[in-house]
């Protein structure tokens, strides 16, 4: 069922890559495409080492969380995912949400990494659009047709804040998911944060 999206090589493979890609180094914004490629190559090597380390899954997910937090603009991603509901949140709720969210997103995408073993990512180039840099890359997964992944790096933050995997926008997708989790709890933010701690 749902074959059009769910069994198509690209999307699924690309979901597997999401977390990996999110670890795009902070310095990319100032880099040429060649330097960005070197950085991404390094990063892919680093993450493959985590995958091949033979560590337990929970230890691996811990490593991925560290990578997410050092390269991604986590406050922005969390605030965007929470959307309009974030405006009425108390400072304590925002803090708790951020912490739960970064764990959630690392688990969700970290679990997909096993499907990335043996793959590679190539940087095609970077261009500036308004106040962000778009880094265009092609992902090659074993036995799959290559597909396009675009990262967005904030000019000011120097960190990655969004990506498009074959046109699928991570921020919009996660905002939909967080919104659905809130609806499930009839808008109770605290209850949703508790759910988030176990989700992904």
């Amino acid at each position: 069922m749902a074959r059009h999206v769910l069994s198509r090589r690209g999307l699924l493979g690309s979901l597997a890559m999401a977390g990996l890609i999110s670890a795009l180094p902070a310095a990319v914004f100032a880099a040429t495409s060649a330097q960005a490629q070197t950085l991404v190559d390094k990063l892919v090597g680093e993450i493959n080492r985590v995958i091949d380390s033979g560590k337990s899954e929970s230890a691996m997910l811990g490593d991925f969380k560290r990578i997410f937090e050092s390269y991604g603009d986590m406050p922005y991603i969390a605030a965007y995912a929470l959307g309009a509901d974030g405006r009425s949140a108390s400072p304590a709720q925002k803090k708790a949400f951020s912490a739960a969210f970064s764990g959630y997103i690392s688990r969700k995408y970290g679990k997909r990494f096993r499907e990335f073993v043996g793959g590679r990512l190539e940087v095609n180039g970077a261009k500036k659009v308004k106040n962000a840099y778009q880094v265009s890359t092609t992902a090659y997964l074993r036995g799959e047709a290559p597909f396009e992944v675009t990262f967005f790096v904030g000019e000011k933050s120097g960190r990655f804040y969004n990506m498009y995997i074959e046109g699928v926008n991570m921020l919009l997708t996660e905002r939909t998911e967080i919104g659905a989790m809130l609806d499930k709890r009839r808008g109770d933010l605290n209850a949703m944060i508790e759910d988030l701690k176990r989700a992904g």
Partner: protein
């Protein structure tokens, strides 16, 4: 096949095409102002959600619930052969659609891809063409309708087939009845083609089992999640930028104080 019979089949195809195209024009609803926030137009959400629940039940029955199913135990080279064969037998239809889209260069490349894989690739089991610069390039009648300028219409989840738009749903029906392979290849050979396509679906489902599960079963609202992913991916495939999603997300426009 006697000549007369073939001719009548071809004219049958033409009739179906004309009919379906006519239907498509009348069937694709266009959202009014404010009816499609975030680029999602889903006026039949209630019915769609019931179909979604049905599809999930089928999926969990077929994928056998927990643990790796039968399809997951198929060795990788065999699975790849099935995938390549399924792709090869779908190429004539892709070529036909690309001709209808007036994309003659791509149609020619895919014709060559078909010739290479059907011969050097041993009846389509090996994807030799990809290695000589003729990568996979699929198309379908839904894309043809897009090229012809038809509106996307409402989102719709089809039983068994999964997510679609009204335009793509029409395309799927037309594709079902206009596959050149089913007209030109005699039985039982054309059943191998159909069988390979189905087997490829099953193997892909097994291969990406965990990822599919994470969308279908771990998501707080798998219907909304699937709809979002499908629409974005399909519009990206088509190069359709008319749907009115936010096209630029400003990295500095959010108040991240406290997060």
């Amino acid at each position: 096949m006697p000549f007369a019979k073939r001719v009548s089949r071809v004219s049958g195809i033409r009739t179906i095409l004309v009919l379906m195209a006519g239907l498509a024009v009348s069937a694709c609803a266009v959202p009014g102002p404010g009816e499609a926030p975030d680029g999602i137009y889903d006026p039949n959400e209630g019915a769609n959600r019931r179909v979604h629940a049905f599809n999930k039940r089928i999926d969990s029955a077929l994928s056998g619930g927990e643990g790796p199913g039968l399809a997951a135990s198929v060795p990788e080279p065999l699975a790849e052969g099935v995938a390549n064969f399924a792709d090869t037998v779908s190429l004539p239809q892709t070529v036909m659609n690309q001709i209808l889209q007036a994309r003659l260069g791509r149609a020619a490349r895919n014709t060559l891809r078909f010739s290479v894989n059907a011969t050097v690739g041993i009846a389509g089991l090996f994807d030799v063409a990809s290695q000589i610069g003729l990568p996979e390039d699929e198309s379908d009648f839904g894309e043809t309708l897009y090229v012809w300028g038809l509106p996307e219409g409402a989102y719709i989840e089809l039983p068994v087939l999964g997510p679609a738009t009204e335009r793509d749903a029409v395309g799927k029906v037309v594709d079902l009845f206009t596959d050149p392979v089913s007209y030109l290849v005699p039985t039982p050979d054309r059943y191998y083609a159909t069988g390979a396509k189905l087997a490829d679906k099953a193997l892909s489902r097994a291969r990406y089992g965990e990822t599919v599960d994470s969308v279908l079963y771990d998501s707080a609202d798998s219907y909304a999640q699937l709809r979002m992913i499908y629409l974005q991916k399909r519009r990206f495939e088509l190069g359709d930028e008319s749907a009115g999603e936010e096209d630029y997300i400003d990295p500095e426009a959010l108040d991240t104080e406290g997060f």
